[in-house]
Amino acid sequence: MSDTITYQYAAPSALKHSPSADELFLAKYSEIQKGTSPCFFWGKLTDPYTVARCLLTLSKVVQSSFSLSPFEMAMLKDPIVTAGNEKIRFEGFSHCAGVYARVDVLGDGHDGEFLENGTTNVDFNQPMLSALSAVRRNENVLLSIGQKEVALHKDGGKVTERKVPLPVKWIKGLTSVQMFLAESEKVHSFNRLQALQLFKTIPTGKPKTDYYLITRGGKPTFSPVKSSDAITVGGVHRLKLIEPLLSIADELRVFSHNNMQSTTWQIYIGAVRFSLSLSRDAWRGFSGEGAGLEALIEDVPDSWVEQVDNYSYANQEFNPTMMAINEDIDIKNVTNLTGRLSAIGLLGYDLDENGFFYRRLPFKLSRIMSLNPRLKDAEKLLQEGKVTIVQKTADKVEAQVEGTGVKHTVILSGDKEQCTCTWFSKNQGERGICKHILAVKKLLAN
């Protein structure tokens, strides 16, 4: 399933040289433009070299693919930037939807004005990237996200258009990765030396087996052998994307998902943070993992979503409890609310701050709502009356759900949710619940 997005930029992004200071102009485009100001941020970068290096690495991520053919790789999807609340965040996803990267330029990393809060696509073109690679330390570089002076940049109405296939899984990955982040915990913190040593142990080529981050003789290392406190990293070669940043890093923190379904590698370089999240395996995208399914079981009224959308500003910390109190929402629905909001692309997750932040993906809601086929399948099962509750007690629910040629047994007992279908049997719930369990839970909830 693939859609097409047509990026329409007023002018291409570019690094413009001038005697006083260079200006990194990032052209922006959003399908759902909100606000009137054409410029989100205009100001000086404190450490332009680091930002440039991080953005180049981000461009490597968005150009990479670990399970697609070279033909599919040819189309570069532009990163997304969110400016507001003293932070500038650039997000991007690999074509295969298995690697997510984010560059956070924190408060000390810039010195400028946030003329408007918001999230937008930014044009990443080859000449701009080439120019970016020449940015050196101690240079004066201004960053402008969008055009500050419309009149000045107006280019005879000539618009840079680029049509790029926008697979559903790409947007879906962007939404569901936030939930993986929210369920991740910090497990390691390495200094630069340790990080460099660790990356030296990444095997060459594209290993097919899982690798584990273990500690051997006091040193972190990747090993194909699992040990008790090991962190599972499938498709470990994908980590090489951030290797160039290690030599300038202050620290590397490793976060692991509570079920080892993803890992996040956060590099700290002064006031800039680079995060790379890897899916469970190179051939598995974040999109197909069903992370947000549980949160979508109960319908959240559109009015709540509107509330969040209308009253939040970009990068603002999202406090679901406050929202529940303000909007008089039953507190038990709060978890569902964050899940729901991130599933429709309204929230991102900050691992250091341990919380969600508001940012509305610059895509039409219709694109985002068309996601989650498993949920749709579950709804279809309910519509067709294929779900029967056989037994319902305080601690156990047993149901029968019609499958192809057989009726599947679904049992929900305490934390345990089981189904006799092939998907569940194979994955044992690791890749999200199956449509049968989802249908039963939805039936019980409504």
Binding site: S130, K407, T409, I411, S425
Partner: protein
């Protein structure tokens, strides 16, 4: 006549002359009207048909003239989408398109040209000259990308003729002013193929290769191209994010101009920026230039120190060395910044390379202040990485190095005395059984194979209609699995288990016809589908069958134990016996607790049922002594006769083989598995196999084996038998079965059956295949049949899949990885063949395999289940035979085996010593091996008695090669022996 009739006639009658006048008259509506006809005719005339009397001789239906007419019409009438689908680009020449463009230019021409050019076919459209004419006339829009793609070919003139040779014509660039003035500079801004455009081109003149570089040189020398802009732009382009070869080409261009020192000084910033490159070639070139500049007063020392980490931590040794050389120069020029420079240099200590470390250490000695806390603090970070030589040299820098061994003591977290055994959760109720059944074919756990029959036996009385319905998804999976195509990851044992389950389904239908109605319908529908497949193709083999006739196509006996156990389960289910299987594991990965085994045996005894032979044997093989007192107490109290004795024997009771023993194979397994080191040889009488085979006491040899292969000879144009050498590890299995004496043979012939000895699990321990198919997906479960006495199977594994340590296929490698993974879960000590397997894996060509082998060694040392000396000896022997590069082993030691704990370091010294001793003459990388040995000896700091045999060997090596001199002297020093040669 309508326009369609008119056009059809033009094509049919090949009226080429009438075409253009006809097309000129068409308006856009008429063109649209004509489009379907052009497509139809094009399809018709493009089709190939058999021509002439010769069979297999095909040619196009349409004549070239007709195709030309259709192509021209396509150009005039089609839109871009339709035109792209044609092969009409052949009409792109001045005569045809040039003429048409004077009266019709499609709006999509530029877009078409760009797409075609991006596909690499610009030359089939136009050359630079014509392109520029088209641009000038306004037919094509000028774009940077089209310009560079057209221009990159322009200095090569393609001559007509058979060989299609080229002439080098740099003067072509002078035809238009704009070419050298503007267009040439686009190469530095837009990605092109300038770097490899002359590849595969043959030239008729004597022009020298690298023609584009020569062209730039030519016009720079003539003053037509600005030299300094060229140098600048090529450096910028080298870092422009283009593909590696193009980036390198720009740097090559820069180098070709031999920039002067003054010029280079202007580009210091760009050169420093190149250090950010991920490719080693540009970094090395930039460092070489920076080296030239380092001593100059204007050299930006601060900027270099900022960039230094990028190169000092690089994987490319030459880059590190160059960066250190620059630092040395800087330290010399700026003595006041010595400390800062030394601290930067310390970053190179990340490389465990003696040369690099010594270089930094020397620099520190020369320019660093011994009392500087800055330097010693930085050294402290790298203390675990410092090699002996550097460590010794840096003694003056306070306390940092002395703590190394303390640190390694701290690291000793791994040493545990044994592996902990995790109990396996059994299905407690029918629902648990249902969920087990539906995942039993997924290999989520190796023991699910055993759990399924055990659970069926347990819940066989609960088969109500509702419960059978719950099992239907599992039955459906079994049927689907058996009748579908083989899927990757599936083993033969999965097929076997599915067929067993299908057989049980048949039993259910038989016992409960009413309740099992749906199950029968399912079976019928699958049988019908199979019959339909068979009806379609005689070749199709119906796949639905039962466990009884099950066999693998290789007829490998290795699968028999599993089959016998499942047959045993079916036997009990047919008789509705509610007894557990004896061999069902109780603890991961496959162990049966001794107490549970006794409890199960009591149940059999009370039910007056004789356990199945194979089930009993496997249970004994898997039996792990737990709750010893309770086990013995229960066995003594409740078990009777032979089984009580057998349990007692397992726990060390003294028994001798007796003719009256009924379960002879079980006794044999007990004797083989549960002995305390020595086996009463009389037990071997319970097997037809020789003692040497039973105990897997095989000899082996390794070396290069001669073989012949077909090699294509281009001159003779035929395959020639060519001699090659391949690495081989060969096990000599010796005599498998005992030879009967002459009299016994006669006796056996006259009275067959009298001397029959029942086969045991050992008779079935085998891997049999010519080419591995799905055996790798079964190996874990095959290994769990006899986890403690696995030598025989390991020998077969080595023989089949590790004959070549470079592996003959991906599946062989998988099988070895799964084997090593399973071995990690076994607690029993490794014996000789396991050592051969582990040691050979340490020098295999696959990093994952090598790392697994290292992990097995680490675990083995921790729980005392491995002999490091034996491992070392085997690797030494392999190296003597040049089986595999020694570098694989030395790299593995440094990356995964060194500095694990003090105990491991001691074992490592033993292993390395044994390896050296068993090598013959020094091979490549022996120096590295000796250096590591010296490092380990130094870290161990143990004044052991030197092995004089080893000392003598090293003395011989010193005579053979001087290169090892330093390393051997170091070892001798550490061993406390004199250095007299």
């Amino acid at each position: 006549m309508t326009i369609t009739e008119q056009f059809t006639q033009i094509v049919e009658r090949q009226k080429e002359k009438e075409l253009l006048p006809f097309l000129k008259t068409l308006d856009s509506k008429q063109k649209k009207e004509l489009t379907p006809l052009i497509k139809k005719l094009d399809k018709y005339y493009s089709a190939y048909e058999e021509k002439g009397s010769l069979m297999g001789s095909y040619s196009r239906r349409g004549k070239p003239e007709q195709m030309q007419i259709l192509n021209i019409a396509s150009f005039v009438c089609f839109n871009l989408k339709d035109f792209e689908r044609t092969w009409a680009w052949s009409i792109f020449n001045r005569e045809v398109i040039g003429e048409i463009l004077t009266w019709y230019c499609p709006s999509w021409l530029t877009e078409y040209a760009i797409k075609h050019a991006e596909g690499g076919f610009i030359r089939s459209l136009f050359d630079y000259r014509w392109y520029m004419e088209l641009v000038e006339k306004g037919y094509v829009m000028e774009t940077d990308r089209l310009t560079v793609l057209a221009l990159q070919d322009f200095i090569f003139f393609e001559q007509s003729g058979k060989n299609r040779q080229y002439r080098y014509v740099p003067e072509a660039l002078l035809e238009r002013d704009v070419t050298l003035k503007e267009h040439i500079w686009l190469f530095f801004k837009v990605e092109s193929g300038i770097h490899n455009i002359e590849e595969y081109k043959q030239f008729s003149d004597d022009s020298k290769p690298e023609r584009w570089i020569n062209t730039f040189k030519l016009y720079v020398s003539q003053g037509r191209i600005d030299r300094s802009r060229l140098l600048n732009d090529s450096l910028v382009a080298a870092m422009g994010g283009y593909n590696q070869s193009l980036s390198n080409w720009f740097l090559k261009l820069f180098v070709a101009f031999e920039p002067t020192k003054t010029e280079l000084q202007n580009f210091t910033g760009e050169l420093l920026n190149i250090l950010n490159s991920a490719n080693s070639k540009p970094v090395n070139i930039a460092l070489n230039y920076l080296k030239e500049l380092a001593a100059e007063p204007e050299f930006p020392i601060d900027a270099f120190l900022e960039h230094a980490p990028l190169v000092l931590t690089s994987e490319t040794k030459s880059a590190v060395t160059s960066a250190l050389m620059i630092l040395e120069k800087l330290a010399k020029v700026y003595p006041d910044r010595g400390e800062e420079i030394c601290i930067a240099a310390c970053q190179a200590f990340i490389h465990q390379d003696e040369k690099i470390q010594v270089r930094v250490a020397k620099m520190l000695q020369k320019y660093g202040d011994g009392a500087s806390t800055g330097i010693s603090d930085n050294l402290a970070i790298y203390k675990d990485n410092l090699l002996l030589e550097a460590k010794t040299m840096l003694k003056g820098f306070s306390e940092q190095t002395d703590n190394a061994e303390v640190a390694s003591e701290e690291q000793e977290t791994l040493t545990t005395s044994s592996l902990t055994l995790e109990p396996i959760t059994y299905p407690e109720n029918f629902d648990d059984f249902v969920f087990l059944a539906s995942q039993a074919f997924d290999q989520n756990e190796t023991y699910h194979f055993d759990m399924l029959p055990a659970a069926i036996l347990k819940f066989q009385d609960e088969m109500t209609e509702a419960n059978i319905a719950k099992l239907l998804p599992a039955f459906q999976r079994a049927y689907k699995m058996v009748t579908s195509d083989w899927r990757s990851g599936m083993g033969y044992l999965d097929d076997m288990l599915a067929k067993f389950f299908m057989d049980y389904g048949q039993l259910l239908v038989k016992f409960y016809p009413k309740e099992g109605r749906k199950l029968k319908e399912m079976r019928d529908s699958f049988e019908k589908m199979e019959a339909e497949k068979k009806a379609k193709s005689d070749w199709y083999k119906i796949k639905i069958s039962g466990i009884k006739p099950w066999d693998v196509f290789t007829r490998s006996p290795g699968y028999k134990p599993h089959k016998h156990i499942l047959l045993n389960a079916i036997f009990m289910l047919e008789r509705k016996l509610k007894l557990p299987m004896l061999s069902t594991p109780t603890h991961e990965p496959c162990y049966v607790s001794s107490l549970v085994l006794v409890q199960r045996l009591i149940m059999y005894q009370e039910a007056r049922v004789t356990p199945g032979d194979m089930d009993f044997e496997v249970a004994i093989a898997r039996c792990i002594k737990m709750d010893i007192e309770d086990t013995l107490h229960l066995a003594n109290e409740r078990l009777k006769g032979e089984r009580r004795h057998l349990i007692s024997f397992i726990f060390g009771g003294e028994y001798s083989p007796m003719d009256s023993n009924k379960s002879k194979p079980a006794w044999l397994v007990a004797a083989m598995v549960h002995n305390s080191g020595t086996i009463d040889k009389r037990w071997f009488g319970y097997s037809k196999l020789t003692e040497q085979y039973l105990r897997a006491e095989f000899t082996w040899k390794s070396g290069k084996q001669e073989y012949f292969y077909d090699k294509w000879d281009h001159e003779l144009r035929k395959n020639i038998k060519t001699k090659g050498y391949r690495s081989r590890v060969e096990i000599d299995f010796g005599q498998k079965e005992k030879q009967l004496s002459g009299i016994k043979k006669i006796f056996a012939k006259i009275m067959p059956g009298q001397e029959d000895i029942e086969p045991s699990v050992y008779d079935y321990t085998q891997l049999k295949f010519e080419y591995i198919t799905a055996e790798h997906n079964d190996i874990k479960r095959l290994l769990t049949i006899n986890p403690a006495d696995r030598e025989l199977l390991l020998a077969h594994i080595v023989n089949k899949c590790l004959k070549d340590p470079d592996f003959s296929g991906e599946n062989d490698k998988r099988l070895i990885i799964y084997t090593l993974e399973t071995l990690l879960a076994f607690a029993a000590p490794h014996r000789d063949i396991a050592h051969l397997l582990i040691a050979t894996c340490m020098i295999s060509n696959d990093k994952t395999v090598r790392t697994y082998a290292a992990e097995l060694w680490i675990q083995g040392v921790s729980i005392n289940s491995i002999n490091s000396e034996t491992i070392g000896k085997i690797i030494g022997t392999h190296e003597r035979a040049e089986l595999a590069p020694l570098k694989r082993f030395t790299d593995l030691v440094l990356a995964s085996m060194y500095q694990i704990s003090a105990k491991h370091n001691e074992h490592l010294a033993v292993m390395l010593g044994a390896c050296i001793l068993n090598m013959d003459v020094p091979v490549n990388n022996t120096k590295k091996l000796l250096d590591i040995y010296a490092e380990v000896l130094a870290v161990n700091k143990k004044n052991e008695k030197p092995d004089y045999e080893l000392v003598a060997k090293l003395r011989d090596w010193r005579k053979l090669t001087e290169a090892l001199d330093k390393s051997i002297l170091k070892i001798n020093q550490l061993l406390g022996v004199g250095n007299a040669s």
